[in-house]
């Protein structure tokens, strides 16, 4: 079929100049890559520069503003809510990553066995990751509702609590709630990616170790884990970036409250930049994420390069 297609199009004889250009490898590459570069340049590179320019002015919505140097950064540095957001973001990223990795790895090991309904189970397990986060987070918010919480009902009936727990009213409990939702959303991603990594490890290696007398735990630690490490690193770094810049879960669950205690970089930037219209200050807050993100990306690039050249 493909050959037929070629002979028919060859008969049409396109314009010679265009054809000559497309025959040149560099020109063809240029034409193929231009649409991508234009879109990415217009909507990533340019906004990035705009963001930096915005963060050194005092613009508001509809007011261009003047150059103020680093005043915005100085202001947010002394802002106690910003400091809380920084602390929260690191806590949120750190705690969820540890849980997502350990639970995800556990689930991947469970899924790596052969059992009835394996394909079915795997398909269902990914649901939290594919269903729009905002929509599933509403289900969690409803489960954590102070008056009608099903979790309170459950805890009450198993005898763990005697009064109600006001999940969203207490800063620590609210933080724990959003951490739980993030873990819930991220575990499937970790599990399925790590499962793909596990499946590339030849079972013969584990069998050989077993014959040599290695206990299951030793086999995991000395055979499986080192071979899985490259995939694990990439998955973890990828997830760290997403979690660090997370917005949706906190926006829906707490909106940054109670009393601005659960803000992350992104939700605080939204509240300042869009909510109150202080564009430049909001831009400064979201740009404050950049150094950490850059560090993770550079680390990831170096790591991939090292693995590839090995």
């Amino acid at each position: 079929m493909a050959v037929q297609a070629i002979t028919t199009t060859l008969g049409e004889a396109p314009q010679p100049r265009r054809q000559r250009l497309l025959e040149d490898e560099r020109w063809l590459a240029f034409f193929l890559i231009v649409p991508t570069m234009v879109l990415l340049g217009m909507f990533i590179a340019y906004p990035f520069v705009r963001g930096i320019l915005l963060s050194v002015t005092n613009s508001r919505v509809g007011v261009p503003g003047d150059f103020v140097g680093l005043a915005n950064f100085h202001k947010i540095w002394n802002d106690s809510i910003f400091r809380t957001s920084v602390y929260n973001t690191f806590l949120y990223t750190g705690v969820t990553t540890v849980f997502k990795l350990s639970l995800g790895l556990w689930l991947a090991m469970l899924l790596n066995r052969n059992f009835k309904g394996k394909a079915f189970t795997r398909a269902f397990i990914l649901l939290p990751f594919i269903i729009p986060t905002v929509l599933s987070t509403f289900a969690w918010k409803w489960m954590f509702d102070p008056t009608f919480s099903v979790l309170n009902w459950l805890l009450f009936h198993v005898g763990a609590i005697t009064g109600r727990i006001n999940w969203m009213g207490d800063p620590d409990l609210a933080m724990i709630s959003i951490i739980i939702v993030n873990i819930w959303r991220g575990v499937p991603f970790f599990a399925i990616s790590l499962l793909a990594g596990l499946q590339t490890i030849s079972p013969e290696l584990n069998e050989a170790a077993a014959i040599d007398g290695a206990k299951p735990w030793q086999r995991f630690w000395h055979v499986t884990w080192p071979l899985l490490l490259p995939v694990t690193m990439v998955v973890v770094l990828f997830s760290v970036i997403q979690t660090f810049a997370d917005f949706q879960i906190v926006y829906v669950m707490t909106g940054g409250g109670p009393a601005n205690a659960t803000h992350l970089f992104a939700t605080y930037a939204y509240q300042i930049g869009i909510g109150t219209g202080l564009l430049s200050e909001g831009a400064a807050i979201s740009l404050a994420m950049f150094p950490v993100l850059l560090l993770v990306v550079v680390f990831q690039l170096l790591y991939i390069r090292r693995v590839e050249t090995r």
């Binding site: 493909a2 070629i6 490898e25 991508t36 269902f124 990914l126 109600r164 793909a196 917005f247």
Partner: protein
């Protein structure tokens, strides 16, 4: 099959697996049961007696009716679908072309352009939404689907390109050379020989991109303002909550209906989706 003594199988496999499944799937069950439960049962305090929260004997369609009669839910569904399909199509075309060029053609700066695409892949939407909001306003694109159709490719193209590069690299060079010897031009060899071979990759990239754009929230939240322009996630968030009052029945019904199109797309292409997911992180 699972080996070992019966108690070992239960302790090390069945019980942990069941707990995982309950943890991961319970919110969806809760969403479904809430959406068909009458208001009288919904707003009953959690400690009232004789109350079974996990089941209802009086299912109702009221919440769904409310959604379609009292809100613009059908418009939100249509907007989301339209935006997701168009931005996925744009991203696939750009991603397939760029992926082909970056993986199979020799040209100056190919390596650094590839790295550049990878870096943009890692840029989160929350880093740039404020300057983008300003740009969208300046170009008078605010409150139109085009504000999203043009910006969604910024996180879809890098992903599609990255995934397609992996697929194209696996296609042997000889395939193209044969076609060229038979008289095909470079362009034809790409379009009729290499791209058809990479169709599974294109499907994976497409299905993944579709779910990503269906999922997107912050750009839609910031760029769209009038109710009839909104996408499902934004519409549900802003129109079904009045101040402190949450309309939980319609909210859960909306969450359920808003999830179904992605769930259907996903269920048809599970294998492709998983390939896209694992390919996207490994590259």
């Amino acid at each position: 099959m699972i080996e070992g003594a019966l108690w070992r199988r239960w302790v090390f496999f069945y019980i942990p697996m069941a707990l995982f499944l309950i943890f991961l799937l319970f919110p969806f069950y809760w969403m479904i049961i809430t959406s068909v439960r009458p208001d009288g049962e919904l707003y009953r305090p959690w400690n009232s007696i004789n109350y079974n929260p996990f089941w209802t004997w009086k299912p109702t369609w009221d919440h769904f009716k409310y959604l379609f009669e009292e809100t613009l839910f059908s418009a939100w569904l249509w907007n989301t679908m339209f935006i997701a399909l168009v931005s996925t199509a744009i991203s696939l075309v750009c991603g397939v072309f760029a992926g082909y060029a970056l993986s199979r053609l020799n040209f100056p700066f190919a390596g650094s352009l590839g790295t550049g695409v990878f870096i943009t892949y890692l840029v989160p939407q929350t880093l740039l939404f404020i300057p983008l909001a300003e740009m969208i306003r300046n170009y008078r694109l605010g409150d139109t689907p085009w504000s999203l159709i043009l910006t969604y490719p910024t996180f879809l193209i890098p992903f599609c390109t990255w995934l397609m590069m992996g697929y194209f690299k696996a296609v042997p060079k000889e395939l193209e050379e044969c076609a060229r010897i038979d008289g095909a031009s470079r362009w034809q060899a790409m379009l009729y020989i290499i791209i058809p071979v990479a169709i599974p990759g294109i499907l994976s990239a497409g299905i993944f991109a579709f779910t990503l754009s269906w999922n997107e929230f912050i750009y839609a939240l910031v760029f769209l303002s009038s109710p009839e322009q909104k996408t499902v996630p934004v519409g549900v968030t802003s129109e079904l909550i009045r101040g402190d009052v949450f309309f939980w029945g319609p909210l859960m019904a909306g969450a359920l209906l808003g999830s179904i199109p992605v769930a259907i797309a996903y269920s048809f292409f599970v294998e492709h989706y998983v390939a896209g997911l694992t390919g996207s992180v490994k590259g």
